[in-house]
């Protein structure tokens, strides 16, 4: 085993991984897999056919067939290469030769091929060829195969580059392009004069007659840069010339290069044409990229919009110009709507670097002072944001956001533009704008008029937009009480219109309250209807509007102690209620009188992990009788269940352990009673019991396997070994207790054993007692028939002890689902015409999922009919818990937002339909009793079903 480990350790540090599986005596377990007869050599056979082909078209057909079913044994490769190249030499048709070369490249990619030899062969073949197509393909083959050779083989790469340089003299653009690409990819990393020479060579092709060659020359430079070559910033001027190219493929690449140069040498000085002023290279490059925002081609514009976001070092004055577009109307200076709204925005002349604010705004413009096609960054984002194509607009929004994050002043200017984008016609762009605003919110204090426009968008029909706005509002700062009041009122209004937004609004108001305690304070009496000397009616604590206000006020109260004395007694009572029902939404307040005994309860304590450890180690220490141990396990299970409710940080592992203990309990129960040895003799009652027990056991195994994320290999193997044990039990039971064929379960069991062996060796773990015994016994078995296998298993099973419980691993999280809607609390039943369908809004929050594609919706009708629905991928949205980023979460947290279609024939009265979320496990062991592969997959429920009362009404036949 140590040898294996060592080998693995070594294998990870070298490039080629050729794992020869440990040759343990597992031959007998290997299942007979039919190797498809003869396909291994068919390619070679086909290649051999080439010799006999009479015409070129026949040869081409053969070659096409070869590439369709490409399969070669490593031993046959040299022969295949030889045959191909032999045919190449005698082939008059260039298309066939091209195909042969492309096949050579495929051959080179096979495992065990001698790449260098094939490259040499290709180069040799090309020597006497005159067809441009063939040479181009040859270069392509060389390029691709060269990539397979590690970088350390500099000599080979140098050789490839030299050959490419030779072929650069070819007339055809295709050959030139490939040669330039080879130079870019393969030129050995060098510095100084040598690198300079290479750059000069490539740069000579900047003005080639063919656009494709030009484009490739520029991208070769980019490739070289990526391979840590140093680019001489002097090429910048030449590169900028190429921005005016007629072809968009060139402009695109050049734009990238300009941006690259700008970002690499931001502080270099460049001379402005026509003046003696020098500006920073990044600023100039930024101006150039901005200019490309008004390019003819949408692709160039999209690229330009994207690149702007990467140029973060640009100076502020150029950055601010991107949002400046001087307006005029009939030669009169006009202020933009933004400027009118924001008087203190400094307005200046467009600075192209030549002059900046040297002439102040004037009412009547002097015709000479207007520069219509001003170069530089002027208004680039203004253009980008009103582009015809959403690709450009959304890229522009993203870049605007990227740049704003780094520059608070720019963030403030861009705010108006982002708010304008709330009005975009495409929802994705609107969403992006909202999200961008949220990301830059730390720099921003919203003015009331801005807030007003933002709130205007709240009425949007799309839930995503509204929730995005809620998140955004939650993280923004507001400037005045009036603004806050307007915001709260609007949110409450909106809640009336869209009751689904309840949770999102709560969260929003929670953050708003916590962030603006001083602004909330003067509003408290107004919001809570507190009258100086009259008692007002006590509001309904179930009313969402009232809850909203409470959340706002209570969260503010945490930071502003003067609020609490203002509150009326019933409000304090409601606080107690809310802090119990929605503990995450309200903070812990220290109330003056102990009218309610709120226990301050920290979310997580280190003691809980300690406790968990204790529970588990106690179990290990006791070497008692089975009965005592069972009781101990039972107690431990209860402890753990309770613990998982108390402390969220160890909940996952506590649940896991408790489930594992539960499974062990069932197992020991079955084993202890001993019925499993001769089930045929049991009474029906007992037989049924046993059957259910085994079924339960298998289900526990499935849950252990599929309900958790964050397993380390130890836990994974423990679970699998336990499952193996359960399967063994199941197999014995089937062989002994039923007259059904045990062939399939036996086969399944053997497969699992085989997999187990591989898993253990991969993880480098020792099998437990039971598994080791199984391995040992099975390896000496002659023929794995169900009978013999089960005979072997019986003693192993009955002797094996319970396994140690794995150490707690706090990374583990259990998948769970919470159905938010329907709540199942409404009394009214949903009526619809029988036979037609009705959509029921369904919202659920799924946490810590292993594989989102397993999620299913289960609808169970009162007549026990069950429908399984696969939710549309678009309805499953990633969902980030508060404050957590994408990286920090384990498993997939998802939000399922869909509508369930319910339909049925007429019922006499309303009945409950049960809806719940389940995981589908097609490869489950339970369904494997009979070898019915196409059967319905096993479903394990993720949560309790929610009941929806439904009443299909008969169709009214009235005239």
């Amino acid at each position: 085993m140590t040898a294996v480990l060592k080998k693995r350790a070594l294998a990870e540090y070298t490039q080629t991984i050729q794992e020869t599986f440990p040759s343990q005596p597992i031959k007998k377990l290997r299942l007979v897999k039919k190797t498809p007869a003869g396909t291994g050599n068919s390619s070679l056979a086909l290649i051999s056919c080439l010799e006999s082909s009479k015409s070129s078209s026949e040869a081409l057909r053969t070659l096409l067939r070869v590439s369709d079913t490409f399969e070669l044994e490593p031993n046959d490769i040299p022969e295949a290469v030889k045959k191909l190249s032999d045919h190449f030499k005698n082939e008059p048709e260039s298309a066939v030769r091209v195909k042969i070369l492309s096949l050579l490249s495929d051959v080179g990619h096979l495992l065990g091929a001698d790449v260098v030899a094939i490259i040499d062969e290709t180069i040799l073949l090309l020597k006497n060829d005159h067809s441009h197509k063939v040479i181009a393909q040859g270069m392509n083959t060389v390029l691709k195969l060269g990539k397979l050779v590690p970088d350390s083989a500099a000599a080979l790469h140098q050789k490839l580059v030299d050959i490419a340089k030779g072929y650069l003299k070819d007339v055809s653009h295709a050959v030139k392009c490939k040669c330039l690409e080879i130079i870019g990819v393969h030129a050995p990393v060098c510095t100084g004069a040598e690198a300079e020479k290479l750059m000069v060579l490539v740069s000579l092709y900047f003005s080639n007659e063919d656009a494709r060659v030009r484009s490739q020359a520029f991208s070769t430079i980019i490739t070289l840069h990526e391979r840590s070559f140093k680019i001489n910033p002097d090429i910048y001027v030449d590169v900028c010339e190429a921005l005016k190219d007629d072809y968009e493929i060139v402009r695109q690449v050049v734009l990238k290069l300009v941006c690259l140069l700008g970002n690499t040498y931001p502080e270099n000085e460049v001379l402005l044409p026509g003046s003696e002023h020098e500006i920073r290279l990044i600023d100039d490059a930024f101006g150039k990229v901005c200019n490309a925002m008004s390019d003819l081609s949408i692709h160039v514009r999209t690229l330009a919009a994207k690149l702007l976001g990467t140029m973060k070092l640009v100076s502020a004055k150029f950055l601010n110009q991107t949002l400046d577009k001087k307006l005029m109307s009939n030669m009169r200076r006009k202020r933009t709507a933004h400027e009118l709204a924001w008087e203190n925005v400094t307005s200046g002349e467009w600075a192209s670097g030549k002059k900046w604010a040297d002439d102040a705004p004037r009412e009547v413009l002097d015709a000479d002072s207007i520069n219509l096609m001003s170069s530089g960054a002027c208004g680039a984002f203004v253009h980008g944001l009103e582009d015809e194509f959403l690709e450009v607009r959304s890229a522009a929004v993203e870049s605007l956001c990227e740049l704003s994050i780094r520059n608070p002043q720019f963030a403030n200017t861009s705010l108006d533009f982002l708010v304008d984008m709330f009005n975009d016609e495409i929802e994705d762009v609107r969403l992006k704008a909202i999200d961008s605003l949220r990301r830059i919110s730390e720099h921003i204090i919203l003015r009331d008029d801005q807030l007003e426009t933002i709130l205007g968008a709240l009425e949007d029909f799309s839930q995503d937009v509204r929730e995005g706005l809620h998140r955004m509002l939650a993280s923004c700062k507001m400037s005045t009480t009036a603004g806050l009041k307007m915001c709260v009122e609007k949110l409450l209004d909106n809640l009336k219109k869209y009751p689904h937004d309840k949770r999102s609004t709560y969260r929003c108001l929670q953050r708003i309250g916590a962030q603006h305690p001083e602004l909330v304070l003067p509003l408290v009496p107004q919001l809570l209807n507190i009258h100086p000397f009259f008692d007002t009616a006590e509001p309904d604590v179930e009313n969402p509007q009232y809850i909203c206000v409470l959340i706002l006020v209570l969260n503010a109260a945490k930071w502003s102690p003067t609020i609490i004395p203002l509150l009326e007694p019933h409000t304090l009572r409601h606080y107690a209620y809310i802090s119990d029902t929605m503990p995450t939404l309200v903070p812990v307040l220290s109330l003056p009188d102990s009218s309610c005994n709120a226990i301050s309860r920290p979310q997580t304590v280190p003691e809980s992990l300690e406790f968990l450890n204790n529970v588990i180690s106690n179990l290990d220490m006791t070497e008692n009788t089975l009965r005592v141990q069972t009781t101990l396990l039972q107690t431990a299970k209860e402890h753990l269940n309770r613990l998982s409710e108390i402390d969220s940080s160890v909940a996952g592992t506590a649940q896991f352990t408790s489930l594992y203990i539960g499974a062990q309990l069932i197992m020991s129960q079955i084993l202890e009673k001993g019925y499993w040895l001769n089930p045929a003799t049991l009474a029906t009652q007992q037989a049924n019991n046993l059957q259910t027990n085994i079924k339960n056991l298998l289900e526990y195994c499935l849950k252990l396997q599929f309900f958790f994320v964050g397993f380390s290999p130890v836990e994974e193997c423990t679970v699998k070994m336990f499952r193996l044990r359960a399967l063994a039990l199941n197999l014995v039971y089937i062989v002994k207790g039923s007259n059904a064929s045990a062939l399939a379960p036996c086969h399944h069991f053997l497969t699992v054993v085989e997999d187990m062996q591989r898993d253990l060796s991969l993880a480098g773990l020792e099998p437990d007692g039971f598994t080791a015994a199984v391995f040992r016994e099975l390896s000496v078995l002659e023929e794995p028939k169900p009978g013999t296998v089960s005979r072997i298993l019986i003693p192993i099973l009955s002797e094996a002890k319970l396994v140690r419980i794995p150490r707690p691993n706090t990374q583990i999280r259990m998948s769970s689902a919470e159905i938010v809607e329907p709540t199942g609390q409404t009394d009214t039943s949903l009526k619809f015409t029988a036979g037609l369908v009705m959509a029921v809004r369904f919202e659920a929050e799924l946490r810590h999922l292993n594989d989102p594609s397993r999620v299913r919706l289960k609808v169970k009708y009162p007549d026990q009919k069950t429908q399984v629905i696969l939710p549309r991928p678009a309805h499953l949205k990633p969902w980030y818990l508060d404050g957590s980023d994408e990286d920090s979460q384990t498993g997939h947290n998802l939000r399922l937002l869909t509508s369930v279609l319910v339909s049925h024939q007429v019922w006499s009265e309303a009945c409950n339909v049960e809806i719940n979320v389940a995981l589908a496990i097609p490869e489950a062991d339970i369904g494997k009793r009979k070898a019915s592969i196409g059967a319905t997959p096993t479903l394990i429920d993720l949560c309790k079903p929610v009941k929806v009362s439904v009443a299909p009404k008969p169709i009214k036949r009235t005239l």
Binding site: K326, S329, T336, M373
Partner: protein, 595 residues
Amino acid sequence: MPDIKITPLGAGQDVGRSCILLSMGGKNIMLDCGMHMGFNDERRFPDFSYITQEGPLTSYIDCVIISHFHLDHCGALPYMSEMVGYSGPIYMTHPTKAIAPILLEDMRKVSVEKKGDMNFFTSQMIKDCMKKVIAVTLHQSLMVDSEIEIKAYYAGHVLGAAMFWIRVGSQSVVYTGDYNMTPDRHLGAAWIDKCRPDLLISESTYATTIRDSKRCRERDFLKKVHECIDRGGKVLIPVFALGRAQELCILLETYWERMNLKAPVYFALGLTEKANNYYKMFITWTNQKIRKTFVQRNMFDFKHIKPFDRQYIDNPGPMVVFATPGMLHAGLSLQIFKKWAPNENNMVIMPGFCVQGTVGHKILNGAKRVEFENKQIVEVKMSVEYMSFSAHADAKGIMQLIQHCEPKNVMLVHGEAEKMEFLKQKIQQEFNLNCYNPANGETCVINTPVKIPIDVSLPLLKSEAKKFNALPPDPKRRRTLHGVLVMRENSVCLMDVEEACREAGINRHIIRFSSTVHINDTGPALSTAHKLHVFIKENLPQWPVTFAEGEISIESVLVKVEGDENEQKNVYVSWTNQDEDLGSYILNMLNQMGQ
């Protein structure tokens, strides 16, 4: 020197009745044929007598191109084709062909039936005129006859608006019609490739305006409408039946839906319904959003916008009404205006440009009292707003288009003279291009360089390419081609010398010049030759110098040394006619070597 002659019959330093005569390469083309909305006499039509005093125009004009369906661009078409007489081809895009007759018919009704105009074209004439129209699709290259080629580009502005590229021989012109460089709620932005025409004829309605971002304008518009509705006022939006109206409808429709407003929005019926059908059909001409979503829901199926009835004018409560025509010069919009103008709660939003002489123009200039033909005086107390929703390119847009298509000359039409002057200066200043803005009836002559296309035989080109590429790359090296220019009946062709000789059936004679230089150098002739070889190689590093059998050859120049030992050597230098330069250079070199 070939030239292009342009004479605007309308739209020269003026807005309205666009009609431009273009003649180049011996072909005469009429661009647009519009009418003026501000006049009711013969001035409303272009002065066709400029072309010919008597009789039909067919023999004077090769084709007519209509850029879009606005009446100031196509209103005079039936008059010209049926009443003046023209039977040649007329080109327009498919949507224009579909919608133009509706507008013409509507205008005819207003003029003849309401105003009692005589001497106006009839419905039948419109139909006959439309039969002469040939519809084109975008980017479709179409040969009018063997010499004129036209191609349409997308222009935004209104549905089906197009810019036309016209080529006769080596001369080409782009006529923009009206265009818009910023996309709006229903149309995309104008687009043209780098076609580098000799002349770009551009509209310049907003030559001195740079507009704010359209989003601000939209928000402003919606805010103004919303505020007016909130205070219970009525909003009148005079529009042309087609174009802006649809954009504003889509804008209001989506806003109403988003804000859940209940106030009624009316659209004065008439031709609109028919026109909306065409908007629904020509989805490919609209913007990205509408094109992508029409499968789910055609954006032109309005939910909130209802047809208007005249009785609704006096209805109480807030409402929004779109009514034609857009400049408040006649029809329903004027009627509603008269009723609503005295109430200060109400509002009129002029969403576009108003021609001088219309009521719209007057109130926009702040007139508080408007007098009508029948001495009726209306007090204007309602607020008058101007929202520049007009879909014309602003100054920046015009400059952008010039930048995109890179013309050699620019001409401005369809704009006011003094505004053009500003833009003209700017174009000259910033692009360094000639810019013209002729007045109506003024002919403008633009010289274009003579271009003579020559066929070059392929082998000749290929061999040159091979030779050029074989040398180390140098972007500055000149590329030369040796060949013979062969002129046959109508074609000019550049051929390889050998090939030309073969074709002409003449034996090729080669003229060689030779000269002798005397050199005093002892030793065998061969060693002298070697010395010379080294010398020449040093002096001509760029050239391939070969040495074989005592002869030095550089291209076709031969240098040979003769003479016995210890004697004066004769160096023969000989070269062919093509290498005259090189040969004489070498000879000169040898001559000076001795000194």
